[in-house]
Structure formats: structure tokens, C-alpha cells
Symmetry: C2
Subunit: 410 residues, 2 copies
């Protein structure tokens, strides 16, 4: 285990946390019982087969060899995990550049993508669990036409990968008819828990990252024994924070490439817990940048939040500040970053801000895989402790219904 | 005025809002009285001279003619406004590409900048009000050495612009000694209110955007008469939200290029109001992306937030969805975006979420200038109504003190 969690400055008494450990263990048992819907992710890391990994690697190789860019169309759980991992580990990625689209309604964005891929070769990966997502499929229409014009029908099919549930839906039916490569989203895995399925793994592999190390990192802790005793105290502490009136959890990173990992966490926690009038509002900040915007609030604003620091002790690269750097000359950027981490933590704790610290040695594929599984489990247990279903999202339909009615009446 | 504000669905009674209008007008008078410290921004748009604009345009032209990239080093108020404007209006920007740095401690980030500028020509703009910001000046040391090696001392000076307060400080003293071009941050304008000073205007002009239209848009409403009567109801409503127990304001955009405008707002409001244990926690979401992550929470989560929609009615570009787009064929991306805006608003209002709508015709330089001044004024009035000083940030020092002590002991 390289993820370590430090709760002493959370402001919640250790005794109180201990008193809820039994409930947390019961929630964990429920997750592993196989009796809850959408808990396929729980055993996913241990169930991934050599066959499925090598298939994904083969497709990734095809993409890398045939394409300058892989365009991934998807929104929410269909892209946030992949983008989080590729951003965070990008300095190790020597594969195809991945462009994410199909998550907004911006003509300017689409035109900028076209500008970028002009005279280049592309592959397309379209991801929609239901096969009907408006953002993704409206973009799919646009990029599909572009590819048909450029490559013709057969080569377009060779260059197109559809990831969806293996049952009839708009996307699946086209994919079958045209002969795209189809990869499955398991029926018992929800979008926000799907990063270790082909949804995340194909783009991550195409980018040139080691998906065996990633899933291996997750597999290393995917056993209830790794969450025994006090190992769910983070989940317990979060719920106690809520019970004591905190309304916001602020995830804080000290790495600009981690900001999308924050977006992934926002979906994971916000969508799992934000229901029945409950849930901590998840926010995410990127330091030291945001110390100069939200630092004042964190130090002295309305105390309705707590902080979760997520940091790595080492980075792969470092830069020494030269003589021209005045008082900082001779220090390295990483040394100063560590001074910032420790300084911010100390300053906030002194101000009485409850703080949790989650640390890994470094952001590498193994540790990131472990972090992913760690947060998925803590989040699911946390939601169960709160008395809500971590795996549904009944509120997401409301805007879709309104929007689709509006589109129909255009 | 092209900024329109709709408050009817805010959940706050019109009568109650009216009852506080007098206090809001008194706060506005205070702002215009010239008796408060750091209110130089209030008259800034009307005070900008032809001379200062043409000087900035001349420097921008120099940069555009001599450089492939302008590297801007700054953090917080020294870069967020410029980045917000350049991102939002970027499709009109035909100037030098601006790279922002000096706002993090990431060696990987620095190395990626060096990778990008290899064999290219650069200019450097280093921005620090105090002239001592750790993030900015550690990066300055690194880029300065690079330029000295590449260009020698004289040409480096020609290519370097320092923006700081015109009084002795670390940066100012080097700038004077080496002969950099020095531009002023007025002493009576705080960092988060400084986007319409050279801090924002030089990078924005170098990017090729029309700074006369931008400052002109702000000037058009920089008169108390434009904030008379009910024109401060947004500020009043925000405070009533707080009084009634709301703890979070969620700024929501339907344009992926607006996300940094959200960051700018987070600093403006968070740093102005988050003190003395008070203030709304500002968060920012980008739709429709985040409907698939935070949409569930907004619809059914803990009701401790309200929403502020910031949208443009028209966009400069549009794309028609071709036949291959199935049920969306023949619609345009912009039409669907409008359906999403209206659909989300309707769905959230039906769910009882208090919502405020701020609309402009389109994001163009005039309207963005106006929006900037609009938010600065509403924010300052809002903070004054809350009983805090909108223009200090006493809490920001705490982490700096800790961090600097850590650096010293390295």
C-alpha cells in the first residue's frame, strides 16, 4: 500500500470515528456481497483477464500505428477518468495524442479540433453507456461524416471504436451495421466507476500508458482485507463532517496536471452522494495557483468546509533554480513545492480548518490505479453510511427531459 | 447595457430585496467617494488615457513582431483576468500566443513550456504587484537565465516587460538596473481588480485582442447612475442568500472557453468576501460537461447552494449537424446549446434550486469589459453589505509565512 491517509487534523475525534467502524465494515460487506446493483466495479481489477488486456493493447497499437490523433467522444463517466489519468501521467505517454470532444455544445471547440487534425490521420472512439447521449452523439454525427468523406465507409469502420453496453441502442446498432470495433461497458458498472473498463483503458493505452500497471495497482488493494479495521476511516470522517455541519469537501492538489483528477472526484462523490437532499458539495482546487484566489477564503471564510489534500512526495522531473532566481537560487522547484504543501497544511490547521491528508510516493500508473480504487471504495462506503444509494443518479434525467423536449420543438 | 440580470427564480422575495436597496446604494456611494483604500478600479475605465492605451498597443505590437510566444509570469490577480479574457475571446485573437507560467511549482510544467518554445522567439512579461511573489519570481529566475543565454543582456532587456508597483522591490529594482520596460500597477488597485490595468491589458493586447473595446465596454457602465435603483439587486440577493443559510454560489457557464472566467470570479468573490468567518464559497461549473458530473447534486443534493447562470445568447461560430447525426440532424450546435441552457434552468428551478441568470448578447470585447466591471461592482457592494472590507486579504499571508520559513530552512 502506498496510499497513506492522515486524519489527525480532521477535527473529528478518533473515538467517534472508531464507534462507526462497524457500520463502515458492514457497508463494505454489502459492496462485496454481490447483492447490490452496479457493484461490478468492486471485483473488476481482479477479474480483468489477460485476454481482455491484450485485446485493448492490440487496438491501442492499431490506433498508434495508423493515427496522429485519437478523438474520444464521451461525457461524464465516459471520459473524465481517462482524461484524469492521461493528464496526470502524461509525461510517460509516448503514444497517440488523445483529443476529448463530445462533452460540450461548442461550435468553436469542434472547429478548433478540425483545425488541429487537418491533414492528419485520426481514429475515433465514441463512448456512451446508453448509446443515446446528446452531447456525444451530436458530435459523433459531425466526426463520422468527416471520416466518411475522408476515408470512405470501410476504412472509417476500421478506424472507429464504439464503447457501449452490449445491447441494442442507437450507437450499438450503427456500430454493428457499419462494422466498428465494439467494446463492452459491463452492465453492472456505472459510468463514474468505469475508468478501469475499456471506457478508460482504451484511450489510456492509446496514449501510450501502461494499463497493466494501472489495473495492477487497483488489484493490489481490491480485497476487503485492505479496507479492514481503520482503513475506512476516511469514509467515516467524511460522514461525521457532514453530521457536524460541514457542507463542502475541498480536494486540493499541488500539481497542475492533477486538476482533472479533481474533476473525476467531483463526479464520483457528487453523483454518488448528492441525493435525497444530502451530500457534501465537492470542490477541487489546484495549488499553489488557487492559494492566490481561494486561499483567503480557506483561511478565514465561512467555516462550512473541510480540506482533503492529495499529494505525491516525489515527481519524475525537477528543475534547479539558477543564480538569477535571487533568494530561491539553488533550490529546486520540487523542494519549494514541498515547502508549499507543508506550509499550507500548517497554516490551515492552525486556523482551525479540518484537514485530511492523502499521500502517495509519486503519481505513477500503479499508484494512480490504487488511488482510483481507494476513492471508489471510500466513496461507496461513505454514501452507504449516509443512507443513500451510491450507484444511481435519478436527478440527472430532469434536465435531459427538458432539453430533449426543447430540441424536438426546434 | 447588454448585461441583463434575471432574479425572479432566486427564491428571494422582491420586497425583501427592495428593502435593502438603500443600503446597497450607500455602499455604492462609499465606493465612489474616493475615501476607501484600493478603490482606484472604480474610476479606472473612465480614466484610461489615449496615451496609456497607445503605449500598451505599441508594446504589444513589438511583442507580436518579435516573438512567437509571450510568456506571462504571474499568479492570482496577476494572470487570472488576462487568461479569462484571452480564453473567452480567443477566436478573435490573431496575435502572439500567450503562455502563462509562474503560477505553480511544477518542473514538468516548466519543461513543457521549454519544449514548446524551443527554437522560437519569446518575450517575457513578469507581473507581481509586490515584486516578491515566490511562484512568479522562482519562475522568473529560470526564464531569465534562459533568455540571457539565448539573447544576451541587451536583447533580453528589450524583450522583457515588468509590471509591478512603481516603488523599490525585488522585481522593480532588477527591472530598473537591467533596463526592462516597466509598467505600473496603480497603488490604489488590488490584484483581483487589476485586469483593466496593464496587468491584464498588455497580455490581452499582445494576444491580438481589442483593448479599446474591452475598456470601452467597462467605461460604458462605470458611472453610479448605471447601478441606481434595482441595478444592485444581484449583490443584495447574494447577501440574502447567505442570510437564509446558503453557503455556496455556483457560477455556471455553457461555453468551455469560459471556465477561466469562472476562476477569475472565484478569486474576485472568494478573496473579497471570504473573511471574518463569512462569505459564500464560490464554485464554478462548465456545462454541459458538468451536468454529467455535478448535475445530480445540483438537482437533488444538500440544498446549501444557489446557482448563477452566465450565458451568451449568440456565438460567433456555428456548426450544422449533418445527416449522420440521426435525430439531431439539421439542428445546429448553438441551437442545441440554447436548448440545454433553457432545459437546465427549467429543471433546476422546478427542483426548487434558487437561480440567477446573467445574460449578454455574445461574448465580445465590449460585453466582456462590461461584465468585468459589472462583477467588480456587485462584488464590492456585496462585501460591504456583508460588513467586511472587500479590498484586503489578511488571510493570504499565513501560508506564505509558513512556506517561506520552510524554504529558508532547506
Amino acid at each position: 500500500m502506498s496510499v497513506s491517509v492522515y486524519l489527525e487534523d480532521s477535527g473529528i475525534s478518533g473515538k467517534l470515528v472508531e464507534s462507526r467502524r462497524v457500520s463502515a465494515q458492514n457497508a463494505l460487506k454489502e459492496l462485496w456481497s454481490g447483492e447490490l446493483d452496479f457493484t461490478g466495479w468492486v471485483r473488476l481489477p481482479e477479474k480483468i483477464t489477460e485476454d481482455s488486456l491484450s485485446k485493448i493493447e492490440r487496438y491501442a497499437k492499431q490506433i498508434r500505428e495508423s493515427s496522429d490523433f485519437l478523438i474520444v467522444l464521451g461525457v461524464g463517466g465516459s471520459y473524465m477518468g481517462a482524461k484524469a489519468v492521461i493528464d496526470l501521467l502524461g509525461e510517460r505517454a509516448a503514444g497517440t495524442e488523445v483529443i476529448f470532444a463530445g462533452y460540450n455544445f461548442s461550435a468553436r471547440y469542434i472547429n478548433e479540433v478540425f483545425e488541429k487534425i487537418r491533414n492528419k490521420d485520426i481514429s475515433l472512439c465514441v463512448i456512451s453507456k446508453s448509446g443515446t447521449t446528446t452531447e456525444t452523439l451530436s458530435a459523433f454525427g459531425i466526426f463520422r461524416k468527416y471520416m466518411l468523406d475522408k476515408y470512405g465507409r470501410d476504412e472509417t469502420a476500421e478506424r472507429t471504436y464504439a464503447i457501449t453496453e452490449r445491447r441494442s441502442n442507437y450507437l450499438y446498432d450503427i456500430a454493428e451495421e457499419d462494422g466498428f470495433t465494439v467494446l463492452d461497458i459491463p452492465l453492472d458498472v456505472g459510468g463514474r466507476y468505469s475508468v478501469l473498463t475499456p471506457v478508460g483503458l482504451l484511450p489510456i493505452a492509446a496514449a501510450g500508458l501502461d494499463i497493466r500497471a494501472l489495473t495492477g495497482g487497483a488489484a493490489e488493494i481490491s480485497d476487503p482485507k485492505h479496507f479492514a479495521g481503520g482503513a475506512l476511516d476516511y469514509a467515516v470522517t467524511r460522514q461525521l463532517m457532514y453530521d457536524f455541519g460541514k457542507r463542502i469537501e475541498v480536494f486540493e492538489f499541488f500539481d497542475p496536471y492533477a486538476s482533472f483528477f479533481g474533476e473525476w472526484l467531483k463526479q464520483l462523490f457528487g453523483e454518488s452522494e448528492g441525493k435525497e437532499g444530502r451530500g457534501l458539495f465537492p470542490a477541487s482546487l489546484m495549488f499553489s495557483r488557487d492559494l492566490h484566489s481561494m486561499g483567503q477564503f480557506l483561511q478565514q471564510g465561512t467555516p462550512s468546509f473541510f480540506e482533503t489534500f492529495i499529494t505525491a512526495e516525489k515527481t519524475a522531473q525537477d528543475v534547479v533554480i539558477p543564480e538569477e532566481g535571487g533568494e530561491f537560487a539553488g533550490r529546486t522547484i520540487q523542494q519549494i513545492n514541498t515547502c508549499a504543501v507543508d506550509g499550507v497544511y500548517a497554516a490551515h490547521v492552525k486556523a482551525g480548518v479540518p484537514a485530511v491528508k492523502i499521500t502517495v510516493d509519486s503519481f505513477d500508473p500503479e499508484n494512480v490505479g490504487e488511488l482510483i480504487y481507494f476513492f471508489e471504495t471510500q466513496c461507496a462506503v461513505s454514501a452507504l453510511l449516509s443512507g443513500v444509494n451510491p450507484f444511481d443518479q435519478p436527478g440527472v434525467e430532469a434536465y435531459k427531459t427538458e432539453m430533449k423536449a426543447n430540441i424536438k420543438s426546434l
